[in-house]
């Protein structure tokens, strides 16, 4: 099994009361380095679950997750935490910024988690500069000191993208990044992601239920009832 990141024979079910609900039933996906893959499917088809398992936020019942052909889903907690911090970047539909922190501090968060007090103190200037540059890059240079509550939806998502990218990850996992934004703003965010994908050679997986958005990806994976239904090259 090759590719930058790959899952094989993935099974996952959730238990609600006595009922076991299968979500993923033998999913196999391989993504090449630098590829932008859209995962589409109806609600409840298991898109988000697949993304969570890929990003080590959730563990599969069966099957494995590989990064550069190395199995990563069975690593000890500490190494999985480190992978989430360094290798993966997450973007969520509802931005999920920490409300107590300013935009800049939110963007610094991966660094703050990575470094202890003393290690941070030594690098704080570089970290701050890095986060500020990233905010500039997503067009929020003028909003650094603002709290999330003072930002618009598009701005919050841009801040979230900056946060996902500040730790220089290899894989960006986005769960409906434009789901909560109007079409124009959503397209702006999408363009930004596309640019970053090209600029940095990031591997990107993007969950969406919007065919319009999926069409802009290099490749589309369609999930239906927990199985891959279709591998389709993008129309563009």
């Amino acid at each position: 099994m090759g590719g930058h990141i790959a899952v094989d024979g993935l099974f996952k079910s959730y238990r609600t009361g006595k009922l076991e609900v299968p979500v993923l039933r033998g999913v196999h996906v391989e993504v090449e380095r630098g590829e932008l893959v859209a995962i589409v499917g109806a609600s409840g088809s298991g898109k988000s679950t697949l993304l969570h398992i890929l990003g080590l936020l959730d563990a599969p019942d069966a099957g494995d997750v590989r990064l550069d052909s190395r199995r990563i889903d069975n690593l000890p907690d500490r190494e999985r935490d480190a992978l989430r911090n360094k290798t993966f970047g997450f973007i969520f539909q509802f931005y999920h910024l920490l409300p107590e922190l300013s935009a800049l501090e939110n963007v610094m968060m991966p660094h703050l988690i990575r470094h202890g007090l003393f290690s941070y103190m030594r690098r704080r200037k570089a970290i701050r500069r890095d986060a500020a540059a990233m905010l500039e890059r997503v067009g929020l240079g003028h909003r650094m000191a603002h709290k999330p509550a003072e930002l618009s939806g598009g701005e919050m998502q841009r801040a979230a993208i900056a946060r996902a990218l500040v730790g220089t990850p290899e894989v960006l996992l986005a769960d409906e990044p434009t789901g909560n934004l109007d079409a124009a703003t959503g397209q702006g965010v999408l363009d930004l992601l596309r640019d970053l994908n090209r600029e940095r050679g990031l591997t990107m997986m993007l969950v969406t239920h919007d065919q319009q958005i999926a069409n802009q990806a290099d490749r589309v994976v369609r999930l239906a009832e927990g199985r891959i239904e279709e591998w389709a090259p993008a129309l563009v």
Partner: protein, 472 residues
């Protein structure tokens, strides 16, 4: 690093949590104030107890005492003489005091103490506690001033007769009046406990003297013999003993040692008077407990099972122990206040963890470890504890510092005395802040704050990131 940042931000933005630490604050402040006041009282009491009692007291089991006090004192001098400043033989016996107010006769139970005033003054604060009716200090002596004698009815008549020609009649008159004067103003003086001699009116009014200076008092005490019989003697009140320890001030009557020995028939054929106590004043820095042990052991050889040697602390052991016990029980009860505050923290923290569920999910998605998330909330609890106990400590110390002003203010507002000085004779509330108590209270409060945040912190840490992110 994120842990510190978030703890700090939570502290500054979550005012509801600050409300939960008000109880920690109040608990800490209350404990500091109560401990300071109790320690102040205990300290003052110890001071006064120690002031009246000598460092070490050698007593006989029998009330009649021992006639060979010189021998015993010589033995003590041999054993520990280099560590002593002074020794004073004393005869202490229970008795009854009788005096007249107008035509009425009043009796009171008292402790009659026969002393050599100058020696006694060397073994403890004795001279410092002797006052006349105007509150001026008087020298330690039992001498009856001539002024008192001449003020008696017979004395006044005698004065009138002084210029008159000396015939047989006047001579007989003078003789008779002189005898009457001695009856009215007995030869030997006595120093009477201030609380026996006065009536305390309170409310800032002056104390009224029931036994003014020059008053004849009768003392009744057991005489030596196979069957104890009452013995009587008369003394003239020449001054008052006021140590501010109500127990002493309301029972002690000091009289000349020799006179008491004679009246109690305690002088043997060789003319040696018996004493039942020898009071020792020890040089500073000497371990008095060890000295008492040594003396006990050695005096046992002199006369087995007869002498009891105790330090002043041992003599007042039950009282001091009672104060210590009161303080520890009060501390336990007060600590429950802080424990209750702990449950407040627990409840509010649980709420905050629920409120922060999504943030916890985000942090985990960004690579925060389980321990890291737990430490955020433990640190937050510790920080709240630090703030609560810090503010409580400052508040408590300020309260202690201004306690007398606060007492005055409260008394003025409530129109009644909050701190009644008639009970203790203190005009100010004594306080003593002990560092070790302070540290103990603050550490205890911190411990409770952290302990109360353990459960919510663990719950936060165990949260599944995906479920946390989906939490609405």
């Amino acid at each position: 690093m994120y842990k510190y940042l978030l703890c700090w931000r939570y502290l500054r933005t979550r005012y509801i949590a600050l409300a939960s630490i008000i109880s920690v604050m109040l608990g800490v402040a209350t404990m500091i104030v109560v401990n300071a006041v109790m320690a102040g009282f205990a300290e003052k009491m110890r001071d006064r107890l120690h002031g009246v009692l000598a460092d070490v007291v050698v007593e006989s089991y029998a009330l009649e005492g021992f006639n060979n006090s010189d021998e015993v004192m010589a033995r003590i001098q041999d054993l520990v003489g280099d560590q002593l400043i002074a020794m004073a033989p004393t005869m202490e016996t229970p008795g009854i005091l009788r005096f007249r107010i107008g035509s009425e006769s009043v009796t009171r139970p008292v402790q009659v103490i026969g002393v050599h005033p100058l020696e006694r003054a060397k073994t403890g604060d004795f001279a410092e506690h002797l006052f006349d009716e105007n509150g001026n200090q008087i020298p330690p002596s039992f001498e009856v001033p001539e002024a008192l004698r001449s003020q008696s009815p017979a004395g006044m008549r005698l004065k009138e007769l002084q210029g008159e020609p000396e015939d047989a009649f006047t001579k007989a008159m003078i003789e008779q009046l002189e005898q009457q004067a001695t009856e009215q103003v007995p030869e030997h003086g006595a120093l009477v406990g201030y609380a026996i001699a006065t009536f305390h009116q309170g409310n800032g009014l002056p104390d009224r003297f029931l036994i003014p200076p020059g008053t004849k008092i009768n003392l009744v005490f057991p005489k030596h013999g196979k069957i104890p019989e009452p013995g009587y003697d008369e003394f003239t009140t020449i001054g008052y003993f006021k140590s501010d320890m109500s127990e002493y001030d309301s029972t002690h009557v000091y009289v000349p040692l020799e006179q008491l020995q004679r009246a109690r028939l305690l002088v043997d054929e060789e003319g040696r008077g018996a004493v039942n106590q020898i009071q020792l004043k020890v040089k500073p820095g000497v371990d008095i407990d060890r000295m008492a042990e040594t003396l006990q052991l050695e005096l046992e050889r002199l006369r087995p099972m007869y002498f009891r040697v105790s330090t002043w602390e041992q003599k007042q052991g039950p009282l001091l122990a009672a104060v210590a016990m009161e303080q520890s029980i009060l501390n336990i009860l007060l600590f429950f206040i802080i424990a209750v505050a702990g449950f407040g923290i627990l409840a509010i923290f649980s709420m905050i963890v629920v409120e922060k569920t999504r943030d916890i999910g985000i942090m985990k998605a960004l690579g925060a470890s389980t321990a890291g998330v737990r430490n955020i909330f433990l640190g937050y609890g510790l920080l709240l504890g630090v703030v609560g106990s810090g503010v409580g400590m400052v508040g408590g110390l300020l309260f202690v510092h201004y306690i007398n002003e606060i007492e005055k203010f409260l008394s003025a507002v409530l129109r009644r005395k909050v701190f009644d000085d008639t009970i203790y004779y203190f005009d100010r509330i004594p306080t003593l802040v002990e560092t070790h108590t302070l540290i103990g209270i603050v550490l205890g409060a911190l411990f409770i704050a952290v302990a109360a945040s353990i459960w919510p912190a663990r719950r936060a840490a165990k949260m599944h990131p995906v479920k946390a992110l989906r939490f609405e």
